[in-house]
């Protein structure tokens, strides 16, 4: 009898860089809730429905599994409700992880847990220089060989320069001008090298011009769908997973050969996050140029 193949998408806490499948770090929302207010989406008077949040998180996870990704889990910690947003743990470049240094004291407690997990997973850990804030993949996204880096609201522009020097890559800092889009991953999402979606209203004229120059195919998201976190998408292969309520974007991407999936994430939108914020791609985003080179 032939041995049965290992079950696909089996739960795992072990990161296997050469597994070949997309691997995503998530953190179960056991202790998720709106306990403080550090962005305009958050209000302690509009508390998340915990049960519904757990359902939505599980639904996102199985959507990602269906798309072909494997998920790994970071152990939730009581008192750190935003640990669920693993995109902000670090920025990943090959086997290097540049740890986040959070601007708000409320999230700084997450740093030690992120570091411990990434270290145990075998990543080489890098710290941003003292006194500079940096919020990981939330503000640093590769599209092709360029790192696009959001600054002003959460991350500092100085940290991005350090990363550029560290990995000898081009860094385009983009000032975020709308507090509702406080992380770059809330208003910009690379889909493939040279292809990205963005919400123009989150950037100033300099940023919009720089993006148009640097990204070959830049697809606009309108204000209504941007508010539904359309840009906070998870890309697995050619599948793009977003919150519900983004039909125009799904239509536009469908015409370009992407498969779009929606899954309700409203309980997380209450904290200012959606699909992308809840994930950290460990083996490199689909759009990262370095992923396709040795």
């Amino acid at each position: 009898m032939m041995p049965s193949p290992p079950p696909r998408n089996r739960p795992s806490t072990v990161y296997e860089p050469n597994r070949g499948e997309p691997q995503i770090l998530m953190c179960p929302p056991d202790f998720y809730g709106i306990e403080y207010e550090i962005n305009p989406w958050m209000s302690r008077h509009k508390q998340a429905d915990h049960g519904l949040a757990v359902l939505q998180w599980n639904s996102l996870r199985s959507t990602l599994h269906d798309a072909g990704a494997q998920t790994l889990l970071l152990k939730p910690v009581e008192g750190l409700p935003d640990l669920v947003f693993t995109a902000n743990a670090a920025m990943i470049y090959r086997n290097h992880a540049v740890l986040s240094r959070f601007r708000h004291a409320e999230r700084q407690g997450e740093e030690a847990y992120n570091e411990a997990w990434l270290k145990s997973a075998g990543f080489t850990i890098h710290q941003i220089v003292e006194g500079v804030y940096f919020e990981g993949a939330g503000d640093a996204l590769f599209c092709g060989d360029t790192l696009f880096a959001g600054y002003r609201i959460r991350s500092d522009v100085h940290g991005h320069q350090q990363i550029g020097a560290m990995f000898a890559c081009r860094v385009i800092p983009l000032e975020l001008v709308d507090p509702y889009y406080y992380h770059l991953d809330t208003c910009f999402c690379p889909l493939a090298p040279g292809v990205a979606i963005y919400f123009p209203g989150a950037f100033d004229e300099y940023g919009r011009r720089a993006l148009k120059e640097a990204v070959d195919e830049l697809i606009e998201v309108d204000a209504d769908e941007a508010r539904r976190f359309a840009c906070n998408a998870v890309v697995v292969g050619r599948t793009v997973v977003t919150n519900t309520g983004c039909p125009k974007l799904h239509d536009a991407l469908g015409k370009r050969g992407f498969t779009c999936r929606e899954t309700p994430l409203d309980e997380f939108v209450k904290a200012g996050g959606s699909a992308k914020c809840l994930t950290l791609r460990l083996d490199g985003e689909e759009a990262a140029g370095w992923k396709h080179t040795s």
Partner: protein, 422 residues
């Protein structure tokens, strides 16, 4: 912040600060954004230096001088542009990148000036040694030392300063130097009384010798062609020259004159052309080569007069740098240009006064090597040589457009007068 300064035209008092903007500041439009913000906030700017990265991944660096009419306005502008990565150069450590290959700096390297420079290492300002223009600044972090290194001497792995952050240039204070070299503040002119200038140069040379300074003479063959060699010999004998830099030509014609009484075949006493005199310089070179060099020729009694003879006799160190058109050359001539540069760098340590006479190539080469605080006098019949030297960014360089012979004759006489009055 720099102290406010008013320009000579009595314009309003201005407050100035240098900031550096580094990274992919062109592609990201961060540079135009910062410049726009300075203007919009009521300040003005001047881009002092910009180094654009060549490869896509190379960062660019811009050094921008920000000026405002009040200290408060300047502070506001600096705070605003700091959010976009524009950092006052004085508020950070210098940034270091290891050279990835021999013989070339890392991209974005800080290119030095000839002015006194300091770099900030671990919060402490350290003076850069071997100050020279157009070099990189290598830093030894363990020893907390910095020095200028020319491109050809870069070794892989050495740490070099990139960008302008943590680098400050301390321009020479003009006012403190008024006494001796005041006449130099006026530009190069062919129509100025030379007497006063030559007297002051003599005073400087005299003072330099008295105070134990080191003087360097850079000379061209016109010193010999014009019959000024004896004046220069007097300077050497008087102890006014500690070091001589020249090419094959000066030494050759000096020796030709010593051996045959001609320079390029022209009889210096009579002014007429000697028969077969054009061969004299070759015969002179040949004789010195047969003797095994200038020093040996002096020791063996083959060479008994002239500038090179006096140098050997008075222990004046010399360096002869070769060029592509040289005959011979004389055995002492260093024909590898980089090696010649290296030896010149070694020898100029401690030089406090430099006299450059009638040579464009050697004058500019030495001018490039000397730090700005070394007093330099450049004498040439050709104004363009003098202007080129004056343009090297130091008001410590004074130029005289004049024939070499009357200059050296007057200089020797002035020095004699000073000796008598001593």
């Amino acid at each position: 912040m720099n102290a406010p300064h008013a320009s000579e035209k009595q314009t309003p008092v201005e407050f100035v600060e240098d900031v550096e903007i580094a990274g992919h500041i062109i592609d990201s439009l961060i540079l135009p954004k910062v410049l726009d913000q300075i203007t919009a906030a009521g300040g003005t700017f001047r881009v002092k230096k910009i180094a654009i990265g060549q490869a896509r991944s190379d960062p660019s660096f811009a050094l921008v001088e920000v000026t405002a009419t009040s200290s408060q306005r300047l502070e506001e502008i600096l705070a605003q542009i700091s959010d976009h990565g524009a950092v006052p150069t004085a508020q950070q450590d210098c940034r270091l990148v290891a050279a990835d290959m021999d013989g070339a700096f890392p991209e974005g390297f800080y290119s030095s000036t000839n002015q006194r420079t300091e770099v900030r290492i671990a919060g402490r300002w350290v003076e850069v040694s071997n100050q020279e223009m157009d070099c990189g600044v290598a830093v030894d972090t363990a020893a907390s030392e910095a020095r200028c290194v020319p491109m050809s001497d870069v070794t892989a792995g050495a740490l070099f300063v990139v960008g302008h952050g943590g680098v400050r240039v301390l321009p020479h204070q003009r006012s403190s130097e008024r006494e001796g070299f005041e006449f130099m503040s006026s530009g190069v002119s062919t129509e100025k009384p030379k007497g006063v200038a030559i007297r002051q140069i003599a005073n400087e040379l005299f003072k330099n010798r008295r105070e134990g300074g080191r003087s360097l003479l850079v000379g061209g063959p016109a010193i010999v062609h014009t019959g000024s060699d004896e004046h220069l010999c007097r300077l050497v004998r008087g102890g006014y020259v500690d070091l001589l830099f020249a090419g094959n030509a000066l030494a050759t014609h000096d020796i030709e004159q010593a051996l045959f009484g001609t320079s390029l075949g022209v009889h210096l006493e009579r002014g007429d052309i000697t028969e077969a005199g054009h061969e004299h310089h070759l015969r002179a070179i040949n004789r010195i080569r047969r003797a095994g060099g200038i020093r040996r020729a002096v020791a063996d009694g083959v060479l008994t007069s002239g500038i090179m003879y006096e140098c050997v006799q008075h222990d004046v160190d010399f360096l002869l740098a070769g060029s592509i058109r040289d005959d011979g050359p004389l055995p002492e001539v260093v024909t590898d240009a980089l090696e010649a540069q290296r030896q010149m760098r070694e020898k100029i340590a401690g030089v406090s006064f430099c006299l450059m006479i009638a040579t464009t190539l050697h004058s500019i080469a030495v001018g490039n090597l000397l730090p700005a605080w070394v007093k330099v006098v450049c004498v040439d019949i050709n104004p363009s040589t003098v202007i080129k030297l004056s343009d090297r960014g130091s008001f410590q360089t004074v130029g005289l457009v004049t024939d070499v012979e009357p200059f050296l004759r007057s200089l020797a006489l002035e020095l004699d007068a000073l000796e008598c009055g001593q």
